[in-house]
């Protein structure tokens, strides 16, 4: 065992956990004041529920040997994983680290259906989605038996598994639950949005540099490219917003940072700083325009999950193949003359898009039909606000006497 790596991976795991409350505030600030508790709870409850699912069967389905398509039940309840199993870092620490990814991925989807999705149904959805969508795709990409791993698809920290997967599931969810009846015009709390994006940026160092699963030079490289891509995308988004409206939007800069972080995620162990600059600039520009285009298509993906995470993940996965540097991650990209790397990247993207879209829609279709569940909160609940109707709590009590 390598005590340095253990220390770093414990830290990285905690950093990735912090991303989920960060996401809660990022999303929470963007909705109306009557829905902020509900929006935050979609993320926060994932920390509780996804952790339990992960240790009971999620880890085993994702990282059990199984087949090329899914793990098995050999490590159900983490049975058979000894306290000192593993090389470099203990297997249990890898379980904990990966569990944090299983928390944030379904939480990302919730941005699509905020302000109208029934909370109780969400809890059931979360369990089913982790089991039927997240675990298999995680296995495809990150287990040595997985078919995408075998094909050589590059995804260092989860561009495919986390972001494309959550982004397309968000499209499925927005389609199935339908549009909000009266969407708000402005975010209710811009400081929450910026605070959330700041926590995401901070936690992302654990997400990407932790995906080296060691305290080594690859982790250092992933750390710096993560920062560079986030910075470049934030700057790009901010400048374009300034050109379009004459003002630099704080929500725009914060969203740009997140788009850059998403795009560098698959690339973070493969590209250098110049690649990160290009990836950040591409994500900052393309995702900004995608926000408008997708809104124009009439899909109420309320908090632009597909534009930022889905498309950001796709940009990242493609540009990983373009900018990969052999001296960093062991694989040369198109610029270094290895065009063959693009095939597996494209197949990985398409397979994730297709599988996640179809299975997520199927899960939601079934949940909608089950008496007592259903996807959509009642009109009265939506009008009153999900905070009072789902939780009996308000974010801001303004009754004068208190």
């Amino acid at each position: 065992m390598d005590s340095g790596s253990i220390a770093w991976m414990l830290t990285a795991s905690a950093l990735v956990l912090l991303m989920t409350p960060g996401l809660a505030f990022f999303y929470g600030g963007l909705v109306r004041a009557k829905n902020v508790v509900n929006t935050i709870m979609y993320s926060f409850i994932a920390m509780a529920l996804a952790t339990v699912v992960w240790v009971l069967w999620g880890y085993s389905l994702a990282f059990g040997p199984g087949s090329a398509f899914i793990g098995d039940l050999s490590a159900i309840g983490l049975q058979g994983i000894g306290i000192d199993d593993g090389e470099g870092v203990p297997t249990l620490l890898f379980v904990a680290f990966q569990g944090m990814f299983a928390i944030i991925t379904p939480a990302l989807i919730t941005g699509a259906f905020v302000e109208r999705f029934k909370f109780t149904t969400y809890l059931v959805f979360l369990v089913l989605w982790l089991t039927l969508v997240y675990a298999p795709i995680c296995h495809w990409v990150w287990h040595e038996n997985g078919w995408l791993w075998d094909m050589g698809a590059l995804d260092f920290a989860g561009g495919t598994v986390v972001h494309i997967n959550a982004g397309i599931a968000a499209v499925a969810a927005a389609m199935m639950v339908g549009k909000r009846r009266n969407p708000g015009i402005e975010p209710h709390n811009v400081p929450y949005v910026v605070l959330g994006a700041g926590l995401l940026w901070f936690g992302w160092f654990g997400f990407n540099a932790g995906s080296a699963v060691a305290a080594d030079t690859l982790a250092v490289s992933a750390f710096i490219v993560t920062n560079v891509a986030a910075a470049t995308a934030a700057l790009t988004w901010g400048l374009i917003s300034h050109m379009r409206t004459g003002k630099m939007s704080a929500v725009g800069v914060a969203t740009g940072a997140v788009a850059g972080l998403v795009a560098i995620t698959p690339a973070s162990g493969f590209v250098g700083v110049m690649g990160a600059l290009a990836i950040g600039a591409s994500a900052g520009a393309i995702c900004l325009f995608a926000v408008d285009i997708i809104k124009g298509m009439g899909l109420d993906d309320a908090l632009d999950v597909f534009a930022v995470h889905g498309l950001g993940g796709i940009i990242g996965a493609l540009l990983t193949g373009v900018f990969a540097v052999e001296a960093i991650g062991g694989t040369a990209g198109v610029i270094e003359g290895n065009a063959g790397v693009m095939g597996p990247q494209i197949i990985g993207i398409l397979a994730t898009l297709g599988y996640s879209l179809v299975v997520t829609m199927a899960i939601l279709f079934v949940l909608d039909k089950i008496p007592g569940l259903g996807l959509r909160a009642s009109e009265a609940a939506e009008d009153q606000g999900m905070d009072i109707s789902a939780h009996g709590e308000r974010a801001f009590v303004r009754d004068g006497a208190d």
Binding site: W237, S241, T245, K247, V251, G252, V253, V291, D292, K295
Partner: protein, 114 residues
């Protein structure tokens, strides 16, 4: 008795308070309101920084006080002098008749209760 409802720029509220007390007003209350007049709305940026939209979101302060009939000119002048900048958006004053006033502590009514 007259009810004075004055809408003005929020940053003038301290000047108005002082002017009203100088004019002999015995009490008033105010709240922050949002609305639209000749100044129209305010431009806000939406769509993740991608679009500018105008909405009726100009913040103003609405102050309410009740005065004796003979105080009208003095109080109106106090409010105007404390709020006028000459630009669109200075606000408006509404004056209505009040049928009765009751002071809760003593049960007095009419002009004595103001």
């Amino acid at each position: 008795m007259l009810k004075i409802e004055a809408i003005f720029r929020p940053e003038r509220v301290n000047a108005v308070s002082t002017a009203l007390l100088d004019a002999g007003v015995t009490g008033f209350h105010y709240q922050n309101v949002t609305g639209q007049g000749q100044q129209r709305g305010v431009e806000v940026v939406t769509g993740r920084g991608g679009q500018a939209t105008t909405r009726s979101a100009v913040p103003k302060t609405l102050l309410v006080t009740v005065i004796a009939d003979d105080k009208k000119d003095e109080v109106v002048e106090a409010i105007v002098s404390a709020t006028r900048s000459g630009e669109i958006g200075d606000g408006k004053i509404f004056i209505t008749e009040v049928r009765d006033v009751v002071r809760v502590r003593t049960g007095e009514s009419g002009a004595d209760a103001i």
